[in-house]
Point group: C2
Amino acid sequence: MEATAGTPDGVSRRRFLRRVGAVGGATALYGTMEALGLLASPANAEQDTFEPLREGDLNGAAPKVAILGAGTAGLTVAYELGKAGYDCHVLEARSKPGGRAMTIRRGDRLTDTDGVTQVCQFDQGQYYNAGPSRIPSHHLTIDYCRELGVAIEPMVNANAQGFYYHENTTTTDYGPLASTRVTHRQAKADVYGYICELLAQAVDQGALDELLNAQDAERLVELASSLGGLSGGRYVGNNRRGYSEPRGAGDQPGVVAGPPPSMSAVLQSQLGTRFAFEFGFDQAMMMWQPVGGMDRISAALADAVGGRRRITYEAPVTAITNTGDGVRVSYRSNGRARTLDADYCVVTIPPMVLRNLSSNFSQATKDALAVPVGANSGRMGIQFKRRFWEEDFDIYGGVTHTNLDVSGIYYPSYGYFQRTGVLVGYYSGAYTNIPVPDRATRAVEQGVKIHGEVYREEYDNSFSVAWPKEPYSLGAWVSWPGGRGAAYQHLLQPDGNVYFAGDHLSYYTAWQNGAFLSARKVVTDLHTRATTTAP
Amino acid sequence: MEATAGTPDGVSRRRFLRRVGAVGGATALYGTMEALGLLASPANAEQDTFEPLREGDLNGAAPKVAILGAGTAGLTVAYELGKAGYDCHVLEARSKPGGRAMTIRRGDRLTDTDGVTQVCQFDQGQYYNAGPSRIPSHHLTIDYCRELGVAIEPMVNANAQGFYYHENTTTTDYGPLASTRVTHRQAKADVYGYICELLAQAVDQGALDELLNAQDAERLVELASSLGGLSGGRYVGNNRRGYSEPRGAGDQPGVVAGPPPSMSAVLQSQLGTRFAFEFGFDQAMMMWQPVGGMDRISAALADAVGGRRRITYEAPVTAITNTGDGVRVSYRSNGRARTLDADYCVVTIPPMVLRNLSSNFSQATKDALAVPVGANSGRMGIQFKRRFWEEDFDIYGGVTHTNLDVSGIYYPSYGYFQRTGVLVGYYSGAYTNIPVPDRATRAVEQGVKIHGEVYREEYDNSFSVAWPKEPYSLGAWVSWPGGRGAAYQHLLQPDGNVYFAGDHLSYYTAWQNGAFLSARKVVTDLHTRATTTAP
């Protein structure tokens, strides 16, 4: 795939050459495979055709670029343009970089659009990521971590020790397994066991004869037996479920936990409909996180672009004006109105915020900015006095998936064995309109259903971010009603000397990968223009 | 489950009480669930009924105990007996602790039973675990790491970016996907896609009507659609396979890789028969490893028992003699024959080695020691000049499973982004009788089939351990021909004042968990005897 994903002109040259080297003499084989349509190691396909700028790529004076927002997109624009010597100035409303790539630690303060202020009380060293929190191996985010020297560690996105939990609703009866915590390992054993039994039975009855020849039918039965852990074509439980009496030393062979719930109970539980999450192209393990918090990436980017020499914090923008030969940005800093004049401007402010600012954008641009909707989601970090999930449940990282309004409980993928710990107590939009003090009460009530009273007893303190009420985001991410239509298309083009960037202008919405991709596209667009026309 | 797994007298009291607290008010619920046979969170079941010894548990003088072998079992015996003040002396043939929990680093030297010596040439900081290399969350090994302050980190035992690779054999034709590397993510998409299509078809044809009522049939179709990622009941590929043209910024929605190979090709490939590995009770993610190498556990145990004050290294035992009121152990040290007299002896030397030593064991014991067979397995660490698997293939940790004689290629779960790296190039008994210099040549040839010529080009150096030729192990682990019969049973009892311990005397053969369990059993047995009878 590496050798056929694009031509040397169509992909990043350095990576392409490296990969041709990697497949080397096997090229003939790959040609054959391609012809058969069998080849797809798409995770290695290039993310885009970006060619990083280098010193010397500018002929004349360095254009001055105002970059609005020190989130992932804005800092990447500054970082990549900076490689060619562009004179970049970043304005950021918040007091630190990262945007929604926000890591919450002791002392962090957040005032929401209701005017309610929270101050984080976590122990030193404890944190949670309130925005993006996981990185698949194939995203540009990993490449930037490498380039910037940001260490990564596994983010446990799936764990056999985590639970599934379905509670009956007014419309759905989940049967005998309703309101029962079931480990991922047990749910998988039972679901795969029964569907494989059904497959074996269907073959046995000749029901699939029209779809399978005799050899394939035999292979299917073998596959079903292995995948389902069947005994004589039947699922009667197996040790994938675990043991009710553990194996031990000496005379302790252990007793396999069982018998499993009935096929009907397993189907009615609908737990199996949750498994596909783990197959997602962007969710399948292994997943990663920066050591020390997601904001380590933006911190490294901020350092790489020159820190406060290039970035002004606590500088909310009030107006953006195309001046004909450049852009004037009005903002506030230290209580005073200020302006920044530049040749170009790159705006990474989310549309929900940007459309409230003053500008002389075209009506078409204003109309386009009015279209996107801020998604309702939020996340609570709960510090517990004791890591009971590790000590009592043998859960080290991973997720408990529920149909409760907390949605998922995410156990921390760092600090194993420490006394205290912060887990993500909800990942949901359902808490946005619940008053801040009541959120924890409700989240804990839900957690008790899974973990028992220990969840209440060991509760220490919490912090929550409701993204629609975060004043400089006004949404967890952007959705485009009706899809990426005319409004999306319009914002891919500059308005005068103003460019727009952000994950919302990519097919990777809500991922930092989208912010990197969009930033790189705008860097290419802007540089092409700057080097072919006078500003 | 926690509340019902045993009575307070039958489980470790501390953990039991903690767990009762953990479920607390939910007890009534669990009672109901238990009655329904639905309850099984067996991963939280106690491993054994061990009650750690404490100061004051000995009334009179501290018995002297000779412990033979400073592997996991021997050190654990010394550690746990030491808590009550037993006077423990450990003899170890090798120059460092750990036994088969062996981490290979720069400068390590190994002379095999053929007299061939290897010296490890890895870069400083690079290593691989030649013996046990992964720890499931529910093993005692994790508890000991916690207690001893050994930091753990994820061991990537499954990774969607890893490959499956099946090459035709003289007996099996794997069809169009033979000799093709297929990512785990793609194999899973295709296998689950097709079997779910078959399930949906079977329901559609009424083939499962006798096994499913109408509601369950409907639920099964919904499950199949979600689990298989079907479109209108058919599997036509989906984005779980990845993209042939990646999603990007702006106008790049991406193109899903496809079309998938035919159902017949997927069945013939037999790749799906490999998936069950990831469901194993002891193999399912999340898995763990000590930071810095598996031998960090034995290093911590050795420190905890008093280091060289209690452990004599390079002291191979030559004879074990029950003296009537104690045990005399003969050994060599600094080129001289020496003896150690003790009240008791705990032997953790593997039976394949132990049966060659001189002893006055009963004939029944000698017969029992003759039964177990040393398993043939080994592992090679290969250092590459560049982590091409990370840089070119986006593989960070995880396993490529093959039907080649290397069996698996294990990518390192540490040191991400470093320039050089050590992967496990084979994990197999097939290389034991290949001369040391030829092993690397062969392993690299196999690796080239998966990764291309880069595998040869970036090869730097390697080190291999063939456990049957490792003089103080003579096998990777023990197998009991015909199962754990009379010989196994016999060795659970002491011969005179000599006790036997090791993973081979547990139902966790080849796992450190088995060594911990066996050690704890012997500690209990020995302590019971020591405190009820005079030595």
